[in-house]
Symmetry: C2
Subunit: 357 residues, 2 copies
């Protein structure tokens, strides 16, 4: 076991460490030292639990360990499923010093985090994300929650974890398409705040796709660091944090048009980032650098043929008043993003036409 | 309209005002100035809504006002009922700047507050408590939540209101028994932290029971002030805040033995406070002062004949090991409380015997 990187997310009294390493769950990391009450409730899902639950429980020997295994998938990210975690905590007579440990992807983390925020008005929470997307995205920032039939993530809480443990070994079991979807967010960090990291990704993207554990750990560490910097400045999402949504206005519209689950979130964001880069009026050479990098990661770089008008509609825009109606995250250059509603409406219209069949 | 008292609950950036007056809901108070998004969702119940909902809506003219009316009673303080408030917010397409306004007693406030904490991970929340208990207790402190079949208030959040509006006129419609139950908590504040206030209550208790609006406003203001002082020192209930539970260890046990709803919470706490005062070893004259004051307020001062052993059991105690097993809030003298597990076990046993039929 080899601890490669330890970062700290700086949030004053609620600061927490992110430990990134290869094989942390193979018994080498003493997680139990951080579990104040020596009692934990692992929350996982049907896909991940058979792979890593036993290993995690072994890491926690010395503590009382219980678990609740949820069905897999975004469709189950509901108040009802969250309530199952609460029921499990109640059934275990968990006290205020219990720790909820999320083992899985973003959905598991979001549900478990919201349950931890709500049980007795807040108990300790640890994240062990097992997908690249969760490792570089949802494990930093403190957002937890569930979906409402009317909208994603409408119900939830800000609840910072006490710690995040990222074992890059868990990526060996991740489907290639999900690895690529995670890389979309990694590339995003380069595009919005770190041109040097973007260039580093251009150098190493083939090895990252090939799952080189050293390079993956470096990419994850840098992504978490960059997200943590942005989040630390704006924990409650008043302003700057919005740049993390680069590519997401188009991406969400693509997901909504297709029905969720057709493209993975990261795939929709990939195509959305290229659209947002074009809307920014970046030099064509820079747009090409972005789309080449995404393509090499195995990601789509143009929207599916769902029709420009439908896309417009899904963004809540009216064709007659395109201008200044939405706030987009735009790029001043590769590595520097800003938020603005002052975009070129003609350019937006041409971009959307590209989505016509 | 006459604003009698305005207090501030000091919680740094989350500080908020409590405005106390006679007839605030009769159109004299401009609540809408505090509603940032000019959109509010009033949460009330079937008993209170017919009495005050129209008046409140009139206070909010200029804002978009919607409401959700919940069934009345502690039995409905569940995640399902809270989910109805969330559904109403979603149906109203409420944005991040919506304000949730609780109009009712403690149950309405707890449910509405938890919904406000959870909708979009936290929106503005205002309290308009209409029972004396809610006015002097749940409107200060930021605790929100719902019950789980296995226990009260197991699920919730700390979510401070943006403001609390207390119209003493609403007390005119309160049943006498509920008024008395509220006075139990008022008397509690005197007993635990303010001997002068306790003496003031001894002077004025008959007029308070007679609902003198001036004196009620003064008693509410002082109670909120005292609770706010304790809470400000210990927002997350790590230590000192526990003294607010004076009388509650016995009180909760009484409620549990009788089944909730037989005695009102304030009634059980009243009898519990006398028991706790005796357990403290206060001079008999001081115990008498406390029990006389409670009796004059219309409250019980001895436990019901439910049996000492059952009471013991409901407190989670074993008859063979009575000593040092629980932390009680005890009185050093009238007006000064402390928390200790160093109590006289023989005295506890004699006290419990008083509950034998």
């Amino acid at each position: 076991m080899n601890i490669r990187h330890t970062l700290s997310v700086a949030l004053g009294a609620r600061s927490y460490p992110i430990v990134i390493g290869d094989g942390l769950l193979d018994g080498g990391y003493d997680l139990v030292q951080h579990i104040r009450g020596r009692h934990c409730m692992i929350v996982s899902n049907e896909t991940v639990a058979p792979l890593y639950l036993d290993a995690l429980a072994a890491c926690l020997s010395g503590a009382r360990v219980e678990s609740v295994v949820l069905p897999d998938g975004e469709a189950h990210k509901t108040l009802e499923t969250m309530s199952r975690v609460l029921d499990a905590l109640v059934a275990a007579r968990a006290a205020r010093d219990v720790a909820v440990v999320a083992l899985g992807g973003g959905v598991v983390g979001d549900i478990a985090g919201f349950a931890a925020a709500s049980y007795m008005r807040g108990v300790d929470f640890f994240q062990i994300p097992t997908t690249l997307l969760a490792q570089v995205d949802s494990s930093v920032g403190g957002k937890t929650g569930v979906n409402h039939p009317a909208g994603k993530n409408l119900i939830g809480a800000f609840h910072q974890p006490r710690g995040v443990l990222i074992d890059t070994q868990t990526l060996t079991s991740l489907p290639q398409r999900e690895l690529a979807a995670g890389l979309a967010e990694v590339i995003k960090y380069g595009a919005i705040v770190d041109a040097g990291f973007f260039a580093w990704l251009e150098t190493h993207i083939d090895d990252l796709v090939g799952r080189d554990p050293d390079l993956l750990a470096q990419a994850i560490a840098r992504s978490c660091e960059l997200k943590a910097e942005v989040v630390s400045e704006d924990e409650r999402e008043a302003g700057r944090r919005a740049i993390l949504n680069f590519g997401h206005t188009f991406g969400h519209a693509i997901e909504r048009c297709q029905g969720y689950g057709e493209w993975l979130h990261g795939e929709a964001v990939a195509a959305g980032m290229v659209m947002a880069a074009r809307l920014s009026g970046l030099p064509e050479a820079d747009v090409d650098r972005l789309s080449d990098l995404l393509r090499r990661a195995g990601l789509p770089v143009t929207p599916p043929a769902i029709g420009g008008d439908r896309l417009l509609d899904a963004m809540g825009l009216d064709k007659k008043v395109l201008k200044n109606r939405l706030r987009f995250v735009l790029l001043e250059q590769l590595g520097r993003a800003f938020v603005s509603s002052d975009y070129d409406a003609d350019r937006l219209e041409r971009l959307l036409a590209a989505a016509d069949a």
